[in-house]
């Protein structure tokens, strides 16, 4: 079984580029050039230099002693929360801004849910002196106010998406419309492992630095490169894609994905795509998505803005369909409880997105000698208001 993208842009039956002709020239140019540009020596050198000196990589692989004792296995945290801008998102935006420069683009657009990808995009645009427009759902603008302020301070324009559920899905629609309207000078930095080919693969490759580091870091700590499990939360699936990438073909490594169940998988307010989705087309790719029998895309719900998306990247749909990955879902309550537990056992306040990954311990029991690597995809500063309201901390 092959888990990586094939030459036509598919993972099994998922992926492809289902885009209107207006987007074809840009997407096709990217498809033809992305691998060549990405693996040029000069590109790799600049990319890795920035990851080291600007982002602060490698991010630590930290043995979480108290969490391990609590859950009876050996838990390591991949500390993407310690990256500059506070999440894994910056790995991809650094890569894509360098790509945009090579393609001669001068204007950058992006969509954002939690605001982490928007901040990471605004950051690299400031770094490179490029114009930056970030589309964000009106609801998300309200619940992620600190990130909106950060983007503005970094010089980006934040444009509200006012249609549909006014969250990540609608922000993505608006960004795509902007790209249709500005086909010549603009590069669209998609933040998740979704979109038309080659986006899912390009984003995954930029994020694959996560699993590349896990391998040598775990070798140092445990004397072996492969853990028993890697665990990540999944919305569109970029941190998961990066966390899994170098383990996809390592059969002994169990791959675990945790989706957002919102108020419960069957509550009607959920974003658990693998449980509720069916194959369809969203944002330019064929993948699992939540939809009505009539093919209208369903409005998802999660307490976490970053997971509030009705689809999942095509690579993940394929991992689900082939059972290469185990899929779980965590409710708002489970994720919040897991976030509080991590805070109080390890002194680390996670993003609510990442809290979903840590809710795995409420669903699955590991063996005492299991080495479990958790993707701690982001830090919780942006979510303080939600934590305060939820736990009545104020």
């Amino acid at each position: 079984m092959k888990y990586h993208v094939n030459e036509k842009g598919y993972y099994g039956e998922f992926g492809g580029a289902f885009i209107p002709e207006m987007l074809y020239p840009n997407v096709e140019e990217l498809r033809q050039k992305y691998l060549e540009i990405m693996y040029e020596d000069s590109f790799q050198k600049e990319f890795h230099q920035l990851l080291k000196d600007y982002v602060g990589r490698p991010s630590p692989l930290y043995f979480a002693k108290r969490l391990s004792e609590k859950h009876g296995c050996k838990i390591y945290l991949k500390r993407e929360d310690l990256n500059h801008t506070g999440a894994h998102k910056v790995n991809n935006t650094i890569g894509q801004i360098l790509m945009a420069k090579k393609l001669g683009k001068t204007r950058i657009i992006a969509e954002t849910g939690a605001g982490q990808h928007g901040v990471a995009t605004a950051t690299v645009c400031a770094l490179m002196g490029m114009e930056c427009i970030v589309y964000m759902g009106e609801i998300d603008i309200a619940r992620q106010a600190p990130n909106v302020a950060r983007m503005k301070m970094l010089g980006a324009t934040v444009r509200p998406a006012l249609s549909g559920s006014r969250t990540l899905k609608d922000a993505t629609n608006e960004a795509i419309r902007d790209w249709i309207n500005n086909p010549v000078d603009t590069h669209y930095i998609i933040g998740s492992a979704i979109g038309p080919h080659p986006y899912p693969d390009m984003v995954t490759r930029f994020q694959s630095i996560i699993s590349e580091e896990i391998k040598w870091q775990l070798k140092e700590k445990e004397g072996r490169e492969n853990p028993d499990y890697v665990v990540a939360c999944i919305g569109g699936g970029s941190n998961a894609a990066g966390t899994y990438y170098h383990f996809l073909d390592e059969k002994e490594v169990g791959i675990i994905a945790v989706e957002a169940a919102g108020k419960g998988v069957d509550s009607g307010e959920s974003a658990a795509t693998s449980a509720l989705g069916k194959i369809g087309i969203i944002h330019g790719c064929k993948t699992m998505l939540m939809q009505t029998p009539d093919g209208q895309i369903t409005e998802p719900y999660s307490i976490s803005a970053g997971l509030d998306y009705p689809g999942v990247g095509p690579m993940h749909s394929h991992l689900y369909q082939t059972a290469r990955a185990e899929f779980y879902s965590a409710t708002d309550d489970e994720a919040m409880t897991a976030g509080l537990e991590l805070s109080q056992l390890e002194g680390i306040i996670p993003a609510i997105e990442s809290g979903h990954a840590f809710a795995i311990f409420q669903h699955k029991t590991f063996k005492p000698d299991d080495v479990v690597v958790m993707s701690l995809s982001g830090r919780g500063d942006k979510d303080l208001n939600t934590y305060i309201d939820y736990f009545k901390l104020a």
Binding site: G164, R177, I180, N181, I281, D294, I297
Partner: protein, 254 residues
């Protein structure tokens, strides 16, 4: 029987095609809108199958789609409404929509239903040329359906040739780099693009869409092309004047 679209393209006149969103303003307006358009002298109609996430459309068509879905429009309802349409309407009818609702209905079942009703063609902007050719072409052909492809000012000559080769009705020429309903009039850039395409002597006639809203833009667009499509401007008119004022709108165009 030859396809009504092909017959229409043979007529010695510039063609006016109108797009509307099925289920808007009210769910049961579909048949009346189609009949009134034909009676007003319109040459061809694009019936919009509403979609929750119409990413190539501007605010007007987005809003009409959202309203249509809220009104309860579904693929099945549309087919039911159109069941007897060929008893009263003779001009070409095209269903325009996004691919996902068609995929969920089943491409084969969808095309078969279109054939039964007397639909002549489909425009599915996010069904790419290569996927159509590899997976769906034979199904379209079997059901006598013409698939209409789009080109834009950014489409390369080489790809236009490819699309021309794959087309057998007309080419939908997107007037400018924009979503529907968002550009103000046509400038030199559009004129140059219209002339460039005309000079390519394609085997398929071209019908221009996006940005056509009145007599002036219709005249400019059809100077070189066979026809033009009005969508957003018509929907705005429906919103403002209601479904009983269709002839008045068409009279302002030609």
């Amino acid at each position: 029987m030859t396809n009504r679209i092909n017959d229409k393209m043979q007529e010695n006149k510039k063609l006016l095609s109108i797009y509307f969103t099925a289920g808007y303003p009210s769910i049961n307006d579909t048949v009346q809108i189609i009949q009134d358009l034909e009676n007003s002298g319109v040459d061809m109609i694009e019936i919009g199958l509403p979609f929750s996430d119409p990413l190539a459309d501007g605010p007007t068509i987005q809003e009409s789609s959202t309203a249509a879905l809220k009104n309860g429009m579904t693929t099945e309802t549309l087919f039911e409404q159109l069941k007897d349409i060929r008893k009263s309407v003779t001009i070409p009818l095209i269903i325009m929509g996004y691919f996902n609702p068609v995929l969920q209905y089943g491409v084969e079942a969808f095309c078969k239903k279109c054939e039964e009703i007397g639909i002549d063609g489909l425009i599915l902007p996010d069904l790419p040329l290569d996927v159509y050719e590899a997976e769906y072409k034979s199904i379209f052909k079997k059901n006598g359906l013409i698939n209409v492809f789009l080109i834009t000012p950014q489409t390369s000559d080489e790809r236009i040739q490819q699309i021309d080769e794959a087309s057998d009705g007309f080419i939908y020429m997107v007037s400018s780099a924009s979503v529907t309903g968002s550009k103000e009039g046509f400038g030199n850039e559009q004129t140059a693009y219209f002339e460039r395409i005309a000079a390519m002597n394609l085997k398929n006639p071209q019908v221009v869409g996006f940005g056509i809203k009145d007599s002036e833009t219709f005249q400019t667009a059809t100077k070189n092309a066979k026809g033009a499509i009005i969508g957003s401007a018509f929907i705005k008119h429906l919103t403002k004047e209601g479904v009983n004022a269709i002839p008045e709108f068409i009279q302002t165009i030609y």
